[in-house]
């Protein structure tokens, strides 16, 4: 594929779109792909994939910023940033949280790019198809679910119960695989409960309430700013890269599992300082996020297998243009250098963005949050309402959000990550169990 002006434009537009999709809560890579469909259809097929790769990577950089500064996750993969990152912000470490996240994400991206290029180089010898057997997916998901239950908090039984509730919620609606129809006789529940609505009710809305109640000084700054130091721990960058590499290619869950799993595992390694603990959790989850997002491109490019919803939209756009990625694996392998270069440029742009945000003083961040918190809440609720209306099931989103909010506020000390992840992973877990039984019975 020629490295012409169209290729460069695809990198630039992908990177800018990723930054916008990450910063604006509720848009995400999926929404961005749908909104930009008319533009993408004008590009050559290889450049559409390059655009997508740059966008998905840059989204990971900027998606964490709204979580760190405002405590509001744009998507499920940013939940750790909205918990650990926002706690750091409230304690006066906004600047460190952003820059260390940027560095961790950059390292995670480099690891991801290296794994991607090595996989392309040795695709035939590795027999990569074998990584996608149902048994392999079954084992990986079982390990991931166990880690989430064991590491999210010390309340193992509660974690297990919450995870089970999450999986049960995902069973609502018509399930074609196992031919169940739980509450599916009601049109509202027919296609199941959206995990994002569960996250919105349990985590985002209570988070907004906390934001409203945030104590502040007369100057609009946070009163409980710590004076201790927090540092970037390379071992947690390594942990994040490892988790991202192990989970990024899992169909259906990919980098969303990567970030939440890395967050849960790093919770287990206690540090003397609470702020350092938050920082380690933030760094590992954001590093895993980026490694996972790049590895999610491997099954897409080599096997035409979409592992996250936004990749499904990408395949639809290509199909509309009469292009099937199936059989194009050699094109990707032959142009691995170009793909690596595009990802490297997007990563560097993400890091540069994080560094440039560091010129903002911590007090300025705090004043911005405290003076604009009502606007932030309004934007988040409006963006979610837009998602709900676009989804066509506004009443279901409302019901789920209200129910989640009541529970989230009433039991505000509980970690709801196992429940949200159970809801998100439930469909995949049921799917692999269904196939496991068929193949082994």
């Amino acid at each position: 594929m020629p490295m012409n002006i169209d290729f460069v434009l695809a990198i630039i537009t992908g990177t800018i779109t990723g930054a916008a999709a990450g910063l604006l809560p509720g848009i995400g890579p999926f929404g961005a792909m749908i909104l930009l469909m008319p533009y993408l259809q004008t590009l050559e097929w290889f450049n559409i994939v390059v655009f997508y790769a740059c966008m998905i990577l840059t989204t990971q950089y900027y998606g964490s910023i709204s979580g760190i500064v405002f405590g509001v996750p744009g998507e499920i993969s940013s939940v750790p940033a909205s918990i650990a990152g926002f706690n750091l912000s409230v304690n006066g470490y906004t600047r460190q949280a952003i820059i260390y996240t940027g560095v961790g994400s950059f390292i995670g991206s480099l690891v991801g790019i290296a794994v991607l290029l090595l996989t392309f180089q040795y695709a035939k010898a590795l027999n990569i198809e074998q990584l996608f057997t149902n048994d392999a997916k079954f084992i990986t998901l079982a390990v991931a679910a166990t880690c989430i239950i064991l590491f999210s908090s010390r309340q193992y039984f509660l974690n297990f119960a919450l995870f089970t509730v999450g999986v049960s919620i995902s069973l609502i609606g018509f399930n074609r695989q196992i031919q169940t129809n739980i509450l599916g006789q009601y049109a509202m529940f027919e296609t199941g409960i959206p995990p994002v609505a569960v996250m919105f009710g349990l985590i985002v809305l209570p988070g907004l309430v906390s934001l409203m109640r945030l104590p502040m000084t007369r100057n609009g700054e946070y009163p409980n700013v710590s004076s201790g130091t927090v540092r970037l721990s390379w071992s947690f960058v390594g942990l994040g890269s490892l988790v991202g590499t192990a989970t990024g290619m899992i169909p259906g869950v990919s980098y969303i599992l990567s970030s939440n799993l890395a967050y849960s595992i790093s919770q287990k390694f206690k540090r003397s300082s609470q702020n350092q603990q938050y920082m380690n959790q933030l760094i590992s989850s954001e590093t895993a996020n980026n490694t996972g997002a790049i590895l999610a491109l491997i099954p897409l490019m080599l096997l035409s297998l979409p592992v996250v919803p936004s990749e499904g939209v990408l395949l639809d756009i290509l199909y509309e243009k009469g292009i099937l990625l199936w059989g194009k694996d050699q094109s990707f392998i032959n142009n691995a250098a170009q793909i690596g270069l595009a990802l490297l440029i997007a990563s560097t742009a993400g890091l540069a963005g994080a560094v440039s945000l560091c010129v903002v003083k911590p007090s300025a961040w705090q004043k911005m949050v405290t003076t604009s918190k009502f606007i932030i809440a309004l934007v988040v609720v409006a963006a979610t309402a837009w998602l709900a209306i676009d989804d066509g099931r506004a009443e279901l989103w409302l019901l789920t959000a209200v129910l989640g909010f009541v529970i989230g506020i009433r039991f505000d000390r509980v970690s709801y990550i196992p429940l949200v992840m159970g809801t998100f992973l439930g469909g995949e877990i049921i799917d692999v169990i269904y196939k496991f039984i068929i193949f082994h019975s």
Partner: protein
């Protein structure tokens, strides 16, 4: 007085503009954007516009939600697939004394039993147990197809996948041996191997030598355009007869090579004809 006259004139002008504005015509679609249902609906747009309508597509999740909209008069038509509009997931019925009527039936690409593995053959299916991937709820058609070439149900097990790509990846991974494909079938026939088809090969599809040329089995996967039974026939019968005669619709059929049975175009005595004309 002058102000009153101006107001009356303005109101009259606005009324005229409102009367001239195109009437909204909403298709309700629970299939993915850009898919077959979408393309069918879009092909009717030009003639609908010429008849004073402003057509659009509203995407909803789930067939029950889609049918509910049409039932409540919030949309004009919706799509459903399966055999004569009876879909086990939606549980709807069409025809005399029921909720919906068929306006149009499009028989799309035949389903094909294919693999990326060029060594597959019908003989493999006759011994042992083979796992066959599927992406839709067309079990009955597949069972009938395999039975037509003497393959017993005990020789295979069907496994449902979420989309063609997932099924293809499972073939490559070795979980399943082959899969039943619609749209991807023709391309697989060119790049892999297809051994059975639910219909005659299309002229634009590379022929796979192993597809049984003597099979009399013909069964298509259809998409139906449905309308609520409460809609007065004068509101759509003439309109859609014109739509199906329009050059754009004919071009669409010529391009896709789909077979179509719609208002004024059904084959007398067939099941579809009875359902289309049941009013």
């Amino acid at each position: 007085m002058k102000i009153t006259k101006i107001t009356v004139a303005l109101c009259a002008a606005m009324g005229t503009v409102a009367a001239m504005a195109a009437e909204p015509f909403v298709y309700v679609n629970d299939w993915p954007a850009g898919g077959l249902a979408d393309q069918m609906m879009t092909a009717t747009f030009p003639e609908l516009r010429r008849n004073g309508f402003d057509p659009s597509i509203e995407y909803v999740k789930g067939c029950k939600s889609a049918l509910d909209r049409v039932r409540k008069g919030q949309g004009h038509f919706t799509m459903n697939s399966g055999k004569y509009g009876l879909d086990s997931e939606c549980g709807i019925t069409v025809g005399e004394g029921t909720e919906f009527r068929i306006v149009s039936e499009v028989q799309s690409t035949p389903l094909m039993l294919c693999s990326t593995d060029n060594t597959i053959s019908l003989d493999q299916l006759k011994s042992g147990k083979t796992f066959i991937g599927m992406t839709g709820p067309d079990h009955e058609i597949v069972d009938s197809l395999l039975a037509s070439v003497g393959i017993d149900r005990s020789n295979y097990e069907t496994v449902i996948y979420r989309g063609t790509n997932a099924a293809l990846a499972a073939i490559k991974a070795g979980d399943i041996k082959m899969g039943v494909f619609g749209v991807a079938g023709p391309r697989l026939a060119a790049q892999g191997k297809c051994i059975l088809s639910t219909g005659p090969n299309r002229s634009d599809v590379p022929r796979s030598n192993d597809i049984n040329p003597d099979s009399n089995f013909v069964e298509y996967s259809s998409k139906f355009m449905l309308i609520s039974v409460g809609t007065p026939s004068k509101e759509y019968v003439d309109l859609f007869t014109r739509v199906f005669e329009s050059s754009e619709w004919q071009e669409y059929l010529a391009k896709t090579k789909f077979m179509h049975y719609g208002l004024g175009q059904s084959i007398p005595g067939t099941e579809t004809e009875k359902l289309i004309n049941a009013r």
